[in-house]
């Protein structure tokens, strides 16, 4: 005899699988489109991976996709928005602002295919993160790069002076006896700052601190950590450049845009996450004591 409960569970699993599969497809489509059409794809790709990961992390705990109940209107509206995102994606070329809004458009479409419009508020954390992408992208475009490079140079000077180094800074140029480096636009750590800020925003939405001021502090500290770690990288570059090492060119290249250079943003991220977790654990411990 067929168990109705089993049938219901099976149908429910298809519903979940269907929506989950659809969501995965749109994430993949988004990533592939960005990677293959945008010239600044590495920085943008990291941001897109982070926002989609964050959007998944902060999905509503009630899991409405396990029992999708969209109204007819919201279902077909969601379908239209998703189809529009696919259509617009085919006409995306490099440096088109519309490409920054595709994740949000896809996210709204996916949410509408699960719940009616009046219940969309459950998805606001995820949609907020997807809406952050065009804002961060605009921030990356309008931030005065040279001012940030000068700030990097000054912080590098302070770090080198703390280590008893003889250093001169002229604008973006950091000079040591025997050599030096110029902090050009791509090396000012702006993308790391933005990525750290995004991670702190995700944590704020996923597991916020008890008090508002603590969350604000974390949002401010995250990009600061990114800036400092980037300055550490520039310190190493300056030291290598002014050294007499036989392999200094290889080390410089690796630290500048090779594999070793990628470890610094990862280190900044780990450092921030560690700080966040330690502070969060203290708050949990305090709550338990109370």
């Amino acid at each position: 005899m067929i168990n109705p409960l089993r049938i219901k569970r099976f149908l429910s699993s298809i519903n979940v699988s269907l929506w989950g599969f659809l969501a995965c497809l749109f994430v993949v489509q988004n990533l592939v489109l960005n990677f293959l059409t945008q010239s600044n794809h590495l920085d943008d790709l990291t941001l897109i991976i982070l926002i989609w990961f964050g959007a998944w992390l902060v999905l509503p705990s009630s899991q409405p996709w396990r029992n999708p109940h969209p109204s007819t209107f919201s279902l077909w509206l969601g379908f239209t928005l998703l189809a529009a995102a696919l259509w617009r994606g085919h006409m995306i070329y490099s440096l088109e602002p519309a490409s920054f809004f595709l994740p949000l458009l896809s996210g709204i479409g996916l949410a509408l295919m699960v719940v009616p419009i009046r219940e969309m508020k459950h998805f606001w954390p995820s949609l907020s993160l997807l809406a952050l992408f065009p804002i961060l992208r605009a921030f990356l475009a309008i931030t005065p790069q040279e001012d940030l490079a000068r700030l990097n140079a000054q912080l590098v000077r302070i770090m080198l002076l703390l280590g008893d180094g003889t250093v001169q800074v002229d604008g973006i140029r950091v000079s040591l006896p025997g050599g030096g480096v110029s902090v050009l636009d791509g090396c000012n750590g702006l993308s790391t700052l933005v990525q750290l800020f995004l991670v702190s925003t995700i944590l704020f939405l996923a597991c916020p601190m008890r008090h508002r001021w603590q969350n604000t502090v974390m949002l401010l500290v995250a990009p600061l950590i990114g800036l400092l770690i980037n300055c550490v990288r520039i310190v190493f570059l300056a030291i290598i450049s002014s050294s007499n090492w036989p392999n200094k060119t290889w080390w410089f290249d690796q630290l500048h845009d090779g594999l070793i250079s990628l470890t610094f943003p990862a280190l900044a991220m780990l450092l921030f996450l560690q700080m966040y977790m330690i502070w969060l654990e203290k708050q949990v411990a305090q709550l338990e004591e109370q």
């Binding site: 149908l11 298809i14 519903n15 269907l18 929506w19 599969f21 659809l22 497809l25 749109f26 993949v28 489509q29 592939v32 489109l33 293959l36 059409t37 945008q38 010239s39 029992n67 999708p68 109940h69 969209p70 007819t72 279902l75 077909w76 969601g78 379908f79 998703l82 189809a83 696919l86 259509w87 617009r88 994606g89 085919h90 006409m91 070329y93 490099s94 440096l95 088109e96 602002p97 519309a98 295919m113």
Partner: protein, 236 residues
Amino acid sequence: MNRTSRFPYFIIIVLALISIFKTIFALSAPFPQAKKQKQLLLTGYRVVPLVAGPVKRGRDFSFGPSQQFELHDKASGRNLLLLIIPIRSRNEKSLQMARMTEFEPKFFLRQRHLRLLSSAIGQELKITQRQEVAMGQGPRTDHAPVVRLQSCLMPGGRAAVTTASIQEHLYHQRNAELARAPFQARLSRFFGLEPNTRWECLAIQLESPDTPGAETSLLKAWAGVAQILWIGLKPP
């Protein structure tokens, strides 16, 4: 969720799969919008049109119909070969003359060196445009050696060879044109109803037998050719 409401899911899944497949395997640069030159009138030259080439669609670049002309300098009696190919790239970082040889062997250049020129294009407009050209030798063949001059001409009259120069100019042209465009036009471009940024330029090559005075005659011909051709180029 009933059977009826699963129907849009299946359709959009199929569309998404097609989209992913097309993006990965069938991505291509759009065709250039620059029109074919119906005729070329160059003062001081007799222009003879030669055979035209087909359009080519590629992943990184697409080429419009190529045109070749023989230019006979009435003053010196020298014969030059002019090749014009509209090029459009998917992004601004791929667009550079040095990569053209990968797709069109006629652009091959040995001992390439860059030269910066400035010329007044149109006395009425009084524009002095910065022009960057590449000069060098053609391929080693059994035929007589040739000298080539090549550059990519853009709207506004500027010509460039390197990615940085082409990108800088097209980017500024795009922003200037967007700032002038009405709000409705900008909205149409945002939603994809009108064509958006075009990373496009007109690749031009002049070729001369490698005899004394070849470089001078190439530069003289270039000034005339660039002056005529840039007018027909629409802003990106």
